[in-house]
């Protein structure tokens, strides 16, 4: 049993009528286009005539013009209260009209008659008359049908129910509501407000946000952290709003949430990633069973456009950074050139085409876990073309040569990279049973240079300063420098179409504690 919510509804005369307070009452919900409601109108008139002196008898109609039509047709003594907003009907959990509620003095429901079952209405009339010390209700019950089914309440109509649920008391959403004028275009409005990354957004209406929140079991008000640079509080609701705008489906939300949690960590350092003039941005890699459940692309064109999950998950994360964190180009986002990855960059690893451990397992998770990993990359994917090598050693050698130019050819031990190995290159590696560790070592071996080759010269002033080199002895200058400080700074995943011998490399940003460290998070529910 539910308690009827407090209400103030306008009757047909334009008067506001309040819900009963501290007294017994009868409240009946009707709508005009319901034949049973019309059959019940004379019964309601009789109830009103009989009981209205003793207690409030409210008849609530669900459609304003329908209420007027009913009044014109039946000319009842009572004036129908207008609930065309349907908020009272929804809060009272009316699923069928007519529904007659009997309320006690505390407002609690003591009877609920759904549709028209003559015997129930007769019993209600008789019991209530007896309680109130009234004579019997004068009504020719024999003229009425024994039973009539009710009709669907407009408050549970699929056209209305999501909106009502989103707006109702107890709705999980709490964010500020913004009313867009009827003459304003909502998409233009969102551009004007600066919510957009430059592309149109889906308006985050309350019903869409609520639908998005159905994608997670977590509390909408749970705080994930504070997003730099404004240190805006990131709640699950705020992520859901931005996910709606990005075009996500509710089932993508757990991935977006995990990615946002990952970038909120100190290790990841989203503030630096956004503020740097280098144009860095998160690259999001998804592993585990969720890839298939939400239809992510890991094959042909995995790093490109055309897959909704890939495109909108990455975009949602960026919109959270923009809108909740306040990182906007020209403000705290200071990238010199910008980067198309700043719109979105998310893909799944093709684990089934990967003969090695998938990324998440390498990073300590179980194979059946769904995991998101965020890397900070400043450019890429840069293709490394090798259609000729037929051994793992040769192919990894080409990759090593290709990776030598990351940041600049003399920038050594400065960054990391994410190597996306395509299926045809996987096949080449597997001719020799080449492991990921073999690949990493070979890349480091091929790209290693003695320090003396990394000294600034007339061709380029980058690298070790000549003055510093002049202080060094021969042994120091002959020391071999590796392109990547540690082998594990070369992150390797498998993705891409079956045809084509071009692996891709995302070039890193400043890595380690002064920059951004890749972070993995298990995707929850």
């Amino acid at each position: 049993m539910v308690s009827l919510p407090a209400y103030q509804l306008e009757n047909l005369d334009g008067d506001r009528v309040s819900s009963p307070v501290a007294e017994r009452a009868l409240v009946c919900f009707i709508k005009e286009d319901c034949p049973t409601c019309k059959e019940v109108m004379p019964v309601l008139a009789a109830f009103y005539g009989h009981f209205a002196h003793e207690m409030p008898v409210h008849v609530i109609g669900q459609n304003e013009s329908g209420n007027k039509a009913l009044a014109a047709q039946f000319n009842p003594e009572f004036s129908i209260l207008d609930d065309s907003a349907l908020e009272v009907s929804f809060a009272a959990e009316i699923e069928t009209v007519p529904t007659m509620l009997m309320l006690d003095a505390s407002g609690a429901e003591t009877a609920r008659l759904v549709g028209f079952v003559k015997a129930e209405w007769q019993t209600l009339a008789a019991d209530l008359s007896a309680d109130q010390g009234l004579r019997e209700l004068a009504l020719d019950w024999s003229a009425l049908p024994d039973w009539r089914p009710g009709c669907g309440s407009l408050s549970v109509d699929p056209a209305n129910e999501p909106r009502l649920r989103a707006l109702a008391e107890g709705s999980p959403i709490r964010a500020r509501r913004i009313e867009i004028g009827s003459q304003d275009d909502e998409v233009e409005f969102m551009f004007d407000k600066g919510f957009s990354d430059g592309l149109p957004l889906v308006p985050p209406t309350p019903e869409r946000v609520l639908a998005m929140l159905s994608g997670t079991k977590r509390d909408a008000q749970e705080v994930l952290g504070e997003m730099a640079p404004n240190m805006g509080e990131v709640t699950i609701e705020k992520v859901a709003i931005n996910a709606v705008m990005a075009g996500c489906k509710p089932e993508y939300l757990p991935v977006v949430l995990a990615a946002v949690e990952a970038i909120l960590t100190d290790d990841y350092n989203i503030h630096g990633v956004m503020a740097t003039t280098m144009g860095a941005s998160p690259v999001i890699v998804v592993n585990g069973p969720i890839r298939h459940r939400i239809g992510m692309n890991m094959g042909l064109g995995a790093l490109g456009q055309g897959n909704r999950a890939n495109a909108t998950i990455g975009r949602a994360v960026r919109l959270v950074v923009r809108n909740v964190g306040g990182a906007r180009p020209g403000e705290t986002e200071r990238s010199t050139l910008g980067n198309p990855m700043k719109f979105t960059m998310c893909f799944a690893e093709w684990e089934e085409r990967n003969p090695w451990s998938p990324l998440h397992v390498e990073r300590g998770f179980n194979e059946e876990d769904s995991v998101v990993t965020v890397f900070t990359m400043s450019s890429g994917p840069t293709l490394i073309v090798d259609q000729d090598s037929r051994t793992g050693s040769q192919l990894a050698g080409t990759l090593g040569q290709g990776l030598q130019s990351v940041m600049s050819p003399k920038a050594y031990s400065a960054t990391d990279c994410l190597l996306v190995v395509v299926p045809e290159h996987v096949d080449t590696f597997m001719r020799d049973n080449y492991s990921k560790e073999n690949i990493r070592q070979r890349i480091q071996q091929v790209s290693a240079r003695p320090l003396r080759e990394l000294v600034a010269d007339e061709n380029s002033a980058t690298g070790l300063k000549q003055a510093s080199a002049a202080q060094m002895d021969e042994a120091s200058l002959n020391k071999l420098m590796t392109k990547f400080r540690r082998d594990e700074d070369i992150h390797i995943v498998v993705a891409g179409g079956e045809a084509g011998k071009f692996s891709g490399a995302f070039h890193g940003w400043v890595t380690g504690s002064v920059g951004s460290i890749p972070v993995s998070r298990k995707i929850g529910h």
Binding site: I180, P206, L319, V324
Partner: protein, 92 residues
Amino acid sequence: MTTIMDPTDERVPVTRQLTPRPDTISGRVALLDISKPRGSVLLDQLEEVLGKQLPGVTLTRYAKPTFSRPAPAALREEIHQNNDFVIEALAD
């Protein structure tokens, strides 16, 4: 009317901001009568006074068909395209 949920951290008010007010009036000024009684009287007086005080300013009279409805899109567009300021006579 569409309602959307605020995607930001809510530190900036979302109410429509006033266009910055210039220190001086120059160029083109629209005088808009919304068609409420005696709005034209006020605008007649304003037109006369402004014409004397701001001789370099072009004054153009406009009227909404009725005060009870928003101005038609074509009228809004015309006023927007051809004027730098609008003075609207709002009430009777």
